[in-house]
């Protein structure tokens, strides 16, 4: 071997050492600054290296760690089983995450346990296989999850209570009200002749107030029942549903001489009865708020939009009626909100509130646009397919 060859071999060797040292340094850098606890152990379970985050997590100093075995970090009840699992890993080492769906716990120096996620990485070394355990403390996340579950259960309960309250209250409120109206009518029939004009007027107003309260309660009941009565979600051709809704409005359409155009609407997974009600309310609304002297025209159109992979059906109901001031475009969807005097248009102001409830029950949204004096446009957006995690939502029939 000549001088040159020896020299170049020496250079190569130096380069290799340098590279190894650099790799080692960058490994150390990552190791020490990692946001999770990292513990390196050998085949016998002895801990050979830890990072600062692991010291913090478990409450041992780096020196104390080195006198421990990996089993000391496992809850006492699971220690004996762990050694076997360790041998198993060393026989077929591969990168893997532990737990596989089970909740994993680690044990601190003071004996307290905390939930963790662990990934195992084999590290081939000069003296056999080492294992790097990367440990994430998920106590906070777990707390958050539990809190979320508790919260959603509480919400579900209070929603159910509210609905049954509304339904019971409306029903029981109707009882005494019916009596008041009935007694009023009887009084009017029996004593009407002997009452003076003012007394008859008072009596008539009392009965009308009773009638109006009866309608309010009836509509509140209808509102509270919207989501209590669900027949489940099935793929439905909305054009057919809209036509069904129209046949229920036949009389009104005839009376007003309205022209109603229903385009091809998409097929969407919905509660059909609720959707029929939605169309009926929206089209009925359009006819109710028609302009005097103008033939009412209602167009129902639909399309499907792809929004980042989620298909959304968009249905629009457009009319040429009196419209409304867009300042009120949120308010019109609230229960018993009316934009017009009771003598101009009848009704309690429940229709659009029911629409909103139905659309929200379908995980969708509804909004309205309008130019006063020219017409209004209601836009309904609902997902074409139900998400599998969406609650089926039947509380009770």
């Amino acid at each position: 071997m000549d001088e040159m060859t020896r020299l170049s071999a020496r250079v190569l060797e130096l380069e290799r050492l340098l590279r190894e040292r650099e790799e080692n340094d960058s490994f150390r850098l990552v190791f020490n600054s990692a946001p999770y606890g990292m513990v390196v152990s050998d085949e016998s379970g002895r801990i050979v290296m830890v990072n600062p985050r692991a010291e913090e997590m478990f409450g041992y100093s780096a020196g104390e760690f080195k006198r421990r075995r990996i089993e000391d970090l496992v809850p006492p009840a699971l220690r004996s089983g762990h050694a076997g699992q360790r041998h198993h890993f060393h026989r077929a080492p591969s990168i893997r995450s532990m737990g596989a769906g089970r909740d994993l716990y680690a044990c601190r120096r003071d004996g307290t346990e905390f939930p963790v996620e662990i990934a195992l990485t084999p590290l081939p070394g000069e003296n056999g296989m080492l294992v790097l355990s990367s440990i994430i403390d998920i106590s906070r996340r777990k707390l958050g999850e539990e809190e979320l579950v508790r919260y959603s259960k509480r919400l579900e309960r209070s929603n159910a209570e509210l609905e049954s309250f509304a339904s019971v209250a409306s029903h029981d409120l109707q009882e005494p009200l019916r009596k008041i109206r009935m007694m009023g009518e009887r009084l009017g029939a029996i004593a009407g002749e002997s009452l003076d004009e003012q007394a008859r007027d008072y009596l008539g107003r009392m009965i009308r107030a009773g009638d109006s309260m009866h309608r309010l309660i009836r509509d509140l009941l209808a509102f509270s029942r919207v989501t209590m009565r669900t027949e489940g979600f099935t793929p439905v051709d909305l054009s057919a549903t809209a036509r069904d809704a129209l046949s229920a409005l036949e009389l009104l359409v005839e009376e007003t001489g309205a022209i109603i155009v229903v385009d091809d609407l998409p097929e969407v997974e919905v509660d059909e009865a609720q959707m029929r009600q939605l169309f009926q309310n929206l089209i009925g609304n359009a006819l109710k708020f028609r302009r005097a002297g103008v033939v009412p025209r209602v167009e129902v159109t639909g399309r499907v939009e792809d929004r980042a992979g989620d298909l959304v059906a968009i249905v629009e109901v457009k009319d040429n009626g009196i419209g409304f001031d867009e300042r009120y475009s949120e308010r019109i969807f609230l229960v018993f909100q009316r934009l017009h005097g009771k003598t101009e248009f009848e009704g309690t102001g429940i229709g659009l509130a029911i629409c909103k409830k139905i659309v929200e029950h379908h995980d969708g949204r509804i909004h309205a646009r309008s130019t006063p004096g020219e017409g209004a446009q209601f836009v309904v957006e609902v997902p074409v397919r139900r998400k599998p995690d969406s609650p089926a939502a039947p509380h009770s029939a």
Binding site: H171, Q174, R178, K179, M182, E185, A397
Partner: protein, 142 residues
């Protein structure tokens, strides 16, 4: 004959029947228990007793002790009573109540009208249909 725990309703309905031209006897009881007890007695004692089998039963649903559902069940499961027409007259208009009572064999379901005039109309219709128009068996098949 009417079973209803609400005295006002009993009075209204009685008046409405009178106004509609009904001339017969209008009996009232306060709950389903009293109704079934009366019917059993009437059936046992026969037509000559003061307990007469009614031509029509108006049945409220929500009553104390024996409610309308239970009274209906007892009437329709009794061979001797099931031929008597039963009309539910309730404040309820819930689909489940309607379904349940028809499943139980009720002959008609009516939601109590809100006004007296409507109540008189209802009484007139019931009288014309159940007491005048339809033919009913006079008792259990022998």
């Amino acid at each position: 004959m009417m079973a209803d725990d609400d005295p006002d309703d009993r009075e209204f309905v009685r008046e409405a029947f009178e106004k509609s031209g009904f001339k017969g006897e209008f009996r009232c009881v306060e709950d389903g228990g009293a109704l079934v007890e009366y019917l059993e007695k009437a059936q046992a004692l026969g037509p000559m007793s003061r307990f007469r089998i009614p031509d029509l039963i108006l049945l409220d649903l929500n009553m104390p002790r024996v409610d309308g559902y239970e009274a209906l069940r007892q009437i329709k499961s009794s061979e001797r009573l099931r031929h008597i027409p039963v009309v539910v007259l309730s404040t309820s208009d819930s689909e489940s109540d309607i379904q349940q009572t028809y499943d139980g064999g009720v002959n008609s379901f009516i939601t109590k009208p809100a006004g007296f005039e409507e109540l008189v109309e209802m009484a007139g219709s019931l009288k014309a249909y159940w007491l005048e128009l339809v033919k009913l068996p006079t008792g259990p098949a022998t």
